[in-house]
Amino acid sequence: MPHSHPIELLRFNTCGSVDDGKSTLIGRLLYDSKSLMEDQVEALEKSADITGGGQINLANLTDGLRAEREQGITIDVAYRYFATPKRKFIVADTPGHVQYTRNMVTGASTANLSIVLVDARLGVIEQTRRHTYIAALLGIPHLVIAINKMDLVDWSEARFNEIRDEIESFLPKFGAFRDVKFIPMSALSGDNVVDASAKTPWYEGPALLHHLETVYIASDRNFSTFRFPVQWVNRPNNPTNKELHDFRGLSGQIASGIVRQGQEIVILPAGIKTKVKEIWSYDGAITEAFCPQSVTICLTDDIDVSRGDMMVGLDNLPGRSGDLQARVCWMNLRPLTAGKKFYLKHTTQMVQASVTQIENRINFTTFDAEPNPAALGLNDIGTIRLRTAKPLIFDGYETNRLTGSFILVEQGTNATVAAGMLFPPLETARPEYADFAI
């Protein structure tokens, strides 16, 4: 039973341009790691006769919508699951077409690792830069550049080096990957996907699957600063049971850090200091809890706390402001212009927000931030300023993905129109109680 007890979970996404072979790569990973079932292979073979001219089309495994199979492109994120004896994987196959960049952001926002595919014949194109940039922007720690279709350039080491050098020349501009791996491969024939290929004697690195199984991800989580957005107030209000009648717990998922029974905490924005009386869970009280556990916390003092409030530790206080600066990926056909109003969802609360200024827009050829654009169009990325109806308690996205991110929702249609990443706060929340020392 090799599949029954994997230890770690790795979430990754694949991106690249149309026809770079993303879906084929995932199909190959599933096929060669024996994660496909007979009826799936049978369905593949059936569709091969119709769309593939008799050849099995591995992309049909992930392109789950009729329109995708008809057009031979991926429209929306498809999720796939497979396991090896070493790890369990959640794969987001994200679209390559420019039109669907927003779906790439969707698939990548929860990933530990991104695979950007490059067609060895075409080399680096705008989509390569855009997707690498988005992966960096979203703070994905691990990057793989899969230089695919190497069979079509005769497995040329020179071509591989040329593409690698070009990407390495612009990567430092993006900042923050923990590690970057370049792998020459052919997803169609399976070279360097699951098994190391004999066709690349000049390549000393691992095949893709080996890298996915071994890349070090244990330090990806933030255990240093306690953040607990209150999600739901748990109040049984049971008149027949005295204990339950008085029970008042704050339920939520720990966004970062560790919390212990007896620990002093602050409720923001009220700024009230109190202690953790009990960490309640269905399986019994626990003495400590850590991210990303979902728990219910009871406090020693009976204070007014509701959804949208944030419980934090006494050190490293978050920011508090209603004037925000953020980088956004715009996801709607109607462009963003200054002055527009939205709902903004941040942690567990939704507030009204108005975009006061569009500071710049990223040019994906030069990666320069071009100042003062008139608008941000679909799939544009830029820096904006916002004012919220109520101050947010937040961290910079770079230090905390969950307390530093937000979405914008268009009023009326309720469409999700932007993904936002907050800049670090200029000033921290200052609770107003006497014995508080910063």
């Binding site: 039973m1 079932m37 919508l65 927003r102 339950l244 309640w280 990303p292 556990q293 979902s294």
Partner: protein, 312 residues
């Protein structure tokens, strides 16, 4: 730091609990779809973990085709009672009698007829959200689902135009008449479900374990022989869905791997007595779970078409 580590089941659990609580906090009248099947059994435990010591703040809803395994209905009713939850059942028969659902001529399966019944129940109780146990690994149209799957006022899914779902920030905003389907088990596989059932020591209906049963061969599957029609005052609910003369009945040791209703659930030959046996069988399986579902074999886009029409 190494002790602060979640294994994959704990990770899937905390993700699902977070989603359940978002539903309770964001919607006014949510419901939880509970059939008694293995996936919705996991949903109930997750609801307990999300909301206890409070009551689970939503009723359970089930749509009956009229062709259910009796064992499943018994389990469903008992489990809802044990948890102190309100169970709402709406049936295809009722909907046909009221003229809300119309069987296609000659079609015996009531799979598609569940759609108007579900939409009718959503309207009747003004549910703005229904939590379901669907998983992305079940089927490739489901692989495209969001956790929060928006449905317009006709209950339709628009797969080409889904709301982007970023980080753990779910957009639950609706206009009147629209509703949301929410799938906390999106990232779970069949194996995860069984491992969770084992870990949490959850009871499952006994038809998941091997038992003796009369079956007959149809469409490449072993289908269960429906229970005899005893109440002569009512029409036979399985009329047209009983084995024909050229479909001989065989007594077999079988179990179900996935449960639809009796006329669309293929039985698998199996000798499994414990959850561990089932886990062993799933890990050695060479066909997918839904390979035993007649309702999915209709065409490559069978699921996509039903979902667009309002299926869950």
């Amino acid at each position: 730091m190494s002790s602060y580590h979640l294994d994959h089941l704990q990770y899937l659990e905390t993700e699902a609990i977070h989603i359940m609580r978002e539903v309770a906090a964001e919607f006014e009248r949510p419901a939880l779809l509970f059939s008694g099947g293995k996936d919705s059994i996991c949903l109930l435990r997750l609801a307990e973990k999300a909301f206890r010591p409070s009551d689970i703040p939503m009723p359970f809803l089930n749509v009956e085709t009229g062709h259910e395994f009796p064992e499943l209905l018994e389990f469903r009713d008992r489990r809802a009672k044990e948890l102190g939850a309100k169970l709402i059942v709406r049936t295809v028969d009722e909907a046909i009698a009221k003229g809300h659902a119309h069987p296609a001529p000659g079609e015996i399966s009531r799979n598609k007829l569940q759609i108007p019944v579900l939409l009718g129940a959503i309207e009747e109780f003004q549910f703005d959200c229904a939590i379901g146990g669907a998983r992305r690994d079940e089927e490739k149209a489901r692989a495209k689902e969001r956790f929060f799957s928006f449905r317009d006022s006709f209950g339709q899914w628009d797969p080409k135009n889904q709301r982007p779902e970023i980080w753990n920030l779910y957009n639950a905003k609706l206009n009147p008449g629209e509703n949301m389907r929410v799938f906390p088990l999106s990232n779970w596989t069949e194996m995860d479900v069984w491992e969770y059932i084992k870990k949490e020591q959850l009871e499952v209906p006994n038809i998941y374990f091997s038992h003796e049963r009369d079956c007959y061969r149809k469409g490449g599957q072993w289908l269960p022989v429906p229970p005899p029609h005893t109440d002569a005052t009512k029409p036979d609910p399985f009329a047209g869905a009983r084995p024909k003369a050229n479909e001989p009945i065989k007594r077999m040791i079988v179990r179900v791997r996935t449960i639809a209703d009796m006329i669309s659930t293929g039985m698998i030959e199996s000798k499994t007595e414990t959850i561990d046996d089932i886990i062993g069988e799933v890990s050695a399986a060479r066909v997918t779970e839904r390979g035993t579902r007649a309702d999915d074999k209709a065409s490559e886009a069978a699921m996509e078409d039903r979902k667009k029409a309002g299926y869950f």
